[in-house]
Amino acid sequence: MLIKPDREDLRIVAYALGRIFTVVAVASLVPLSWAVLGREWHPFASFLLMIGAFAFLGQLGLRYRPSDERLDWSHGMVVVALTWLAVPMIGSIPFIFSGHYGSPIDAIFDAMSGLTTTGLALVQDLDHMAPSLNFWRHLLHFLGGQGIVIAALVLFAGGGGLTLYYGEARDERILPSVRSTARFIWAVALVHLVVGVLVLGVIAHQVLGFEWKRSFFHALMIFFAAFDTGGFAPQSTSLGYYHSAIFEFATTVLMVAGAMSFGLHYALWRGPRRALFKNLETRTILTTFTFTMVLTMVGLGAAGIYTSVQGLTRQGFFQIISAHSGTGFSTVPSSELAMWGGLAFAGMTIAMALGGMASSTAGGIKALRIGLTVKAVANQTKQLLLPEGAVVSTQYFQSGRKRLTPQLAQSAMTVALLYVALFLLGAGVALGYGYGLQEALFESVSAGASVGLSVGVTEPSMPMLLKLTYMFQMWAGRLEFVAVFALLGFIYAWVRGK
């Protein structure tokens, strides 16, 4: 029998949401200050409205203090799923009033794309957007990539943090307490922010000839989008705007850093460092990076799109790192990307679907799940080939020796299958509207794996149902399904439970 959530359950969820909305309201003061400094009064008014909405909902939630604030598993998952729905909706207010979007849905689409670190965009005339609004688009990447709920964890103590942490699709608790883990995640981000912005800013000034202020504005935006594997860029031509190999190289380092798990960052910072290349996840991602890169470059070479070694290296390498890390920066226009048929298309699509490491800012199926699935299949095959009764080792190395249990293998395969179903959903809807199979599949994988590369399907004139489907894909794909199912179960129990 389904148990209907009672008033206390609702109070627990509302109170936790209230705390998170309050944190987002405080974070939103940054773009507001930016608007004041830049004397951008129109965006200032819309930021004020947005902050008011977050603060109002935050205070409303905090009025419903439950007798026990401790979140259980289902409460935490519901809170995370609702947070990732509500923040893009309220966070889109400045976009709605900006005049850069054809409809409120387009504005919410971009806010969802920003928060989920996808990078698909429906913005119009981006090159003339007010800097404070452009900053807000990129700050959404940072908030989403680092985890809004993680931010709340750093600021508020309280029970149930672990369920919120896992709800935001993070599998690995690096330090003994969730709060210290959250602090470490933010410390890594801040150190990368200082170094990344400095390096990109200096390159923009010295190599591209930008004035200092403009250099650091672009450096900050690109940092947010690269380290949080987002993919928005301050200009409509993405990274192609800079026409600089050194700028692309520095951005690539940040994309790789973003696709690395925070567990790996911890091992690098504090050890043990000897086992870094022994980890199943590190080996898997290096193999898939190389495999998809070879596939893409052979495809590009065969199609005769890039004939020089330099051209093929630069385009193939950058695009595959962007796709595999789940960032979505592009140095070629979407119309040119659409011409990458055959093996190049296959390489890019597979790279996007696989994604980065678990517990990183990247989306997709994730390297650890791929590694575990391949190992489980290999073990099964070995078992079949060996004499009856022979024992096959089920051990694997991931921050220490571990055993690949049937439950672990099943869990990895289930999530991988759910991702495939999610990719097919978006592709099916696009096919229904008459898009070609290749572009329908590419764009759907891009949305579901939080990548953001586009072959031209995502544009303001695309069908409304397709926009809503991609938004659902971004949301479900970013949260890795568990929180989404928990929310659906919670609603079902509320309606049908007794």
């Binding site: 380092v253 460092r273 890169m293």
Partner: protein
């Protein structure tokens, strides 16, 4: 789960660790770029 060190941050060892992390990221990217160059050279020579 194996318990890990939860001491204060910001020691010289942490700075060295952070520097090592950047070096690791750089090595990975340079390695992949070198692999890409090699593949591109073979592809353009063969096809």
């Amino acid at each position: 789960m194996r318990r890990r060190d939860d001491r204060r941050w910001g020691t010289p060892a942490d700075l060295a660790g952070a520097a090592l992390a950047f070096l690791f990221e750089l090595i990975i990217v340079v390695g992949l770029a070198a692999a890409a160059f090699l593949v591109a050279a073979i592809v353009t020579a063969v096809i």
